[in-house]
Amino acid sequence: MRGILRDIPYDGDLVLDPIVEDVPAGPDPVVIGVIVAVVAVVVVVTILLVVRAKKKKQGK
C-alpha cells in the first residue's frame, strides 16, 4: 500500500491519505529488465545486419 493524493471536493485541497487504496503491484522488474535487454539486442543486431548488408553491396 502507498499514499495517494485525493481531491476533497468541498474545499479543493489535496490531502495525502496513506491507507485509502491498495495499489496493484507493477510488473516484475526482472521481466521488464529482460524485455529491455531483448529490445537492446534486437536494435544492435539490426544495426549490425544493415551495416553488413551495405558493406556486402559495396564490395560487389
Partner: protein, 347 residues
C-alpha cells in the same frame, strides 16, 4: 497458377487472417486474469513479433527459398494448440507472426516492379485483421477454431499461389538527390520518422473507438493502400509528407467525429508503404532486412506507450508536433523520383 498478382492476393488475404488469428489468441486467452499479466503479454508479443523481423528478414535474404510466410501461418496455428503452456504459446504466436510478415514483406517489395502500391496493398489488411481479431476474441460466442480455419486457408493460399523466385535489385527511386544523400543518415532519419509516427498512433485520441470498433482499422487499411497508389502517381515525398501534415487538423480538431477522425487516421497511415519502400531503396536487394528494419522502428516507437499513457488533453497537442517532425524527416530523406532503382543514387 503463380504470378505476381496471385502472389499478392495470397499474401494480402493471409495477412488479414494471420493478424486476426494473433489478435484473437491474445484477446481471448491472455486478457487480464488469465495465465499472465495482460500488458506484459502484449509487450512481449510486440517485442518478438516486431523486433525479430530484422534478423528473420536477414535470414530469408540469405536463404531465398526459405518458406517464411508458410512457416509463419503454421507457427501461429501451433500456438493455439500450446495454450496450456502460456508464455510458450505467446512466443510461438509472435514468432509465427514475425516470419509471416517477413515472407509477405519480401514478396511485396521484390515483386513490386518499383511500384509502392504493392507494399501498400499487402500491409493494408493487417489493420482490419487486428481490429476484427480483437473484437472476435473478446466475444465469447465465437469458437476458437475459426482463426485456425483461416490460418489453414492462408497456408494453402501461400503454398499454392506465392512466387518462389526473388528478383534482385528492385528499387523505388526514392533516394533524395538534394537533401540527405548519405545512406546511413537517410536510414537513421527514416528510422526515427517511423518511430515517431508509431508513437503518434498511441497518442491519437478517438473517444468513439469503443462504439465503432472496426472503423479505425478500416481507415488505416484504406490509408495504407491509398498511400501506395497515390505515391506512385504524385511522388513518394509529396504523398508521405503532405498526408502527415494534412491529418493534423482531422485528428486534433475532429477527434470527436468518427467521420473526420477516420479521414485523419487514413491520412496518418498513408506514408507507411512509402517509408517501407524508401528503406528498401537504401538496403537494395535485402527485402527481408528492410522490412524488419521498419518494424524495429515501429517497436521502439510503441514501447513508451506500454509504460506511460499520455492524457488525451496533452496528446492532442503532442500529436501535431510528432506528425510535423516525422513529415519533415520524410521530406528531407526521400525524393519524388519514380521509376526503377538507380544504382548511382546509392553511391
Amino acid at each position: 497458377m503463380r504470378n505476381k498478382s496471385t502472389s499478392l492476393m495470397a499474401y494480402t488475404i493471409a495477412h488479414f487472417c494471420v493478424d486476426l488469428a494473433c489478435a484473437f489468441l491474445l484477446f481471448r486467452f491472455f486478457r487480464a486474469g488469465f495465465y499472465v499479466q495482460s500488458p506484459l503479454v502484449f509487450l512481449m508479443y510486440s517485442v518478438i513479433a516486431f523486433g525479430f523481423q530484422a534478423p528473420f528478414g536477414a535470414l530469408c535474404d540469405r536463404f531465398t527459398r526459405f518458406p517464411a510466410g508458410l512457416l509463419g501461418c503454421l507457427l501461429v496455428a501451433l500456438a493455439f494448440f500450446t495454450l496450456p503452456f502460456g508464455w510458450f504459446s505467446i512466443i510461438l504466436c509472435a514468432t509465427g507472426n514475425a516470419f509471416f510478415h517477413v515472407g509477405g514483406g519480401i514478396d511485396s517489395l521484390a515483386n513490386s516492379d518499383g511500384k509502392i502500391v504493392r507494399s501498400g496493398i499487402f500491409v493494408s489488411t493487417g489493420a482490419i485483421g487486428l481490429a476484427l481479431g480483437g473484437f472476435l476474441g473478446s466475444a465469447e460466442s465465437i469458437p476458437a477454431y475459426l482463426p485456425l480455419v483461416l490460418l489453414i486457408v492462408s497456408a494453402a493460399l501461400i503454398a499454392l499461389f506465392s512466387l518462389k523466385t526473388i528478383p534482385k535489385d528492385v528499387g523505388f527511386g526514392t533516394a533524395s538527390p538534394v537533401f540527405v544523400k548519405a545512406v546511413p543518415a537517410a536510414l537513421l532519419i527514416l528510422f526515427v520518422a517511423i518511430m515517431i509516427r508509431s508513437y503518434g498512433g498511441f497518442v491519437m485520441y478517438a473517444p468513439w473507438r469503443t462504439e465503432y470498433l472496426l472503423l479505425p482499422g478500416i481507415s488505416a487499411c484504406i490509408g495504407k493502400a491509398a498511400g501506395g497508389f497515390i505515391a506512385d502517381r504524385l511522388g513518394a515525398r509529396t504523398t508521405a509528407s503532405l498526408s502527415l501534415l494534412l491529418c493534423i487538423p482531422f485528428l486534433c480538431f475532429g477527434f470527436s467525429s468518427p467521420v473526420l477522425c477516420s479521414i485523419g487516421i487514413a491520412l496518418f497511415n498513408m506514408n507507411m508503404p512509402v517509408t517501407l519502400c524508401a528503406v528498401s531503396d537504401r538496403i537494395p536487394g535485402q527485402y527481408g532486412l528492410a522490412f524488419g528494419f521498419t518494424t524495429v522502428a515501429l517497436l521502439l516507437g510503441a514501447i513508451p506507450a506500454f509504460f506511460y499513457a499520455m492524457p488525451w488533453q496533452t496528446g492532442i497537442y503532442v500529436l501535431p508536433a510528432l506528425c510535423a517532425v516525422s513529415a519533415t524527416m520524410i521530406f528531407i530523406s526521400i525524393s519524388n523520383k519514380g521509376g526503377l532503382y538507380n544504382e548511382r543514387n546509392f553511391a
